[in-house]
C-alpha cells in the first residue's frame, strides 16, 4: 500500500513568487495535515483538511492557503514568498480527525526561497 506522497521533492523560488505543494494521502484516509519545519523551529502546524473542508489553521498569515480535493489529495499554496518561508513542508494523513488517529507523514517538500 502506498504511503503519503508529496511533490515536488524540492522547489526553488524567488521572493514574491507563489509556490504550490501537493500531497496524496494514504488510500482511505480523509484527513490531511500540513506542517512547516523551518531550521531550529521544530514542526509548526499549518492546516488541517477533512472531507474537503478546512477544519483548523495554525498561526500563519493568510498567504498560506490550501484545499482538499474530492479524492482527498491536497494542495498547499504559499503566495508572495518570503525568505523565511524556506523550510521543509510536511504533509500527513490520518483515517479521520480524531485525536487518537495516528498521522502518517510524507517525505516532505523542501522549499527554498532565494
Amino acid at each position: 500500500e502506498a504511503g503519503v506522497t508529496q511533490s515536488p521533492t524540492h522547489l526553488i523560488k524567488t521572493r514574491g513568487q507563489q509556490a504550490t505543494l501537493r500531497c496524496s494521502p494514504i488510500s482511505g484516509h480523509t484527513s490531511v495535515y500540513w506542517y512547516q519545519q523551518a531550521l531550529g523551529l521544530g514542526l509548526q502546524f499549518l492546516l488541517w483538511y477533512d472531507e474537503g473542508e478546512e477544519r483548523n489553521r495554525g498561526n500563519f498569515p493568510p498567504r498560506f492557503s490550501g484545499r482538499q480535493f474530492p479524492n482527498y489529495s491536497s494542495e498547499l499554496n504559499v503566495n508572495a514568498l518570503e525568505l523565511e518561508d524556506s523550510a521543509l513542508y510536511l504533509c500527513a494523513s490520518s483515517l479521520g480527525g480524531q485525536s487518537q488517529d495516528i498521522q502518517y507523514f510524507g517525505a516532505g517538500t523542501r522549499l527554498s526561497v532565494l
Binding site: 495535515y33 521544530g42 502546524f45 479521520g96 480527525g97 485525536s99 487518537q100 495516528i102 502518517y104 516532505g108
Partner: protein, 113 residues
C-alpha cells in the same frame, strides 16, 4: 508556542546503551505521541500513549506518561546505530476536540558504533 518541549536537545551514546528522552507539555491532553525523523525527512510514528495510561511498551521502546507533572519519557533500550535520528513528542489539546498535534523541537540522538 510549543506545547511539547523535549530534553535534552541532543544526546550522544554508544551502541548497546540506553537512551532516555523527556518531554514536557503545558495543557491537558488526550494523547501523547512520539515520532522519529531521519535526516530531515518525513516523520515515522513510534508510539501513542493515552492520558489514562502510565506506561506503554513497543519492542525496544518504553514510554511513560505522568499527567500530574505534564511530562513523558521515551526510553530506547540496547540502542543501535540505526536509531540515530531526531525524536519528537507530539500532543493534542484535550479541550480542542481536534486531532491537531503540537510538536516539540525534538531531541537529536546520535548512536555511535
Amino acid at each position: 508556542s510549543q506545547q511539547g518541549e523535549e530534553d535534552p536537545q541532543a544526546l550522544s551514546i554508544q551502541e548497546g546503551e540506553n537512551a532516555t528522552m523527556n518531554c514536557s507539555y503545558k495543557t491537558s491532553i488526550n494523547n501523547l505521541q512520539w515520532y522519529r525523523q531521519n535526516s530531515g525527512r518525513g516523520l515515522v510514528h513510534l508510539i501513542l500513549i493515552r492520558s489514562n495510561e502510565r506506561e506503554k511498551h513497543s519492542g525496544r521502546l518504553r514510554v511513560t506518561l505522568d499527567t500530574s507533572k505534564k511530562s513523558s519519557s521515551l526510553l530506547i533500550t540496547a540502542s543501535r546505530a540505526a536509531d540515530t535520528a531526531s525524536y519528537f513528542c507530539a500532543t493534542d489539546a484535550a479541550s480542542s476536540g481536534y486531532s491537531t498535534l503540537t510538536f516539540g523541537k525534538g531531541t537529536m540522538l546520535l548512536v555511535s558504533p
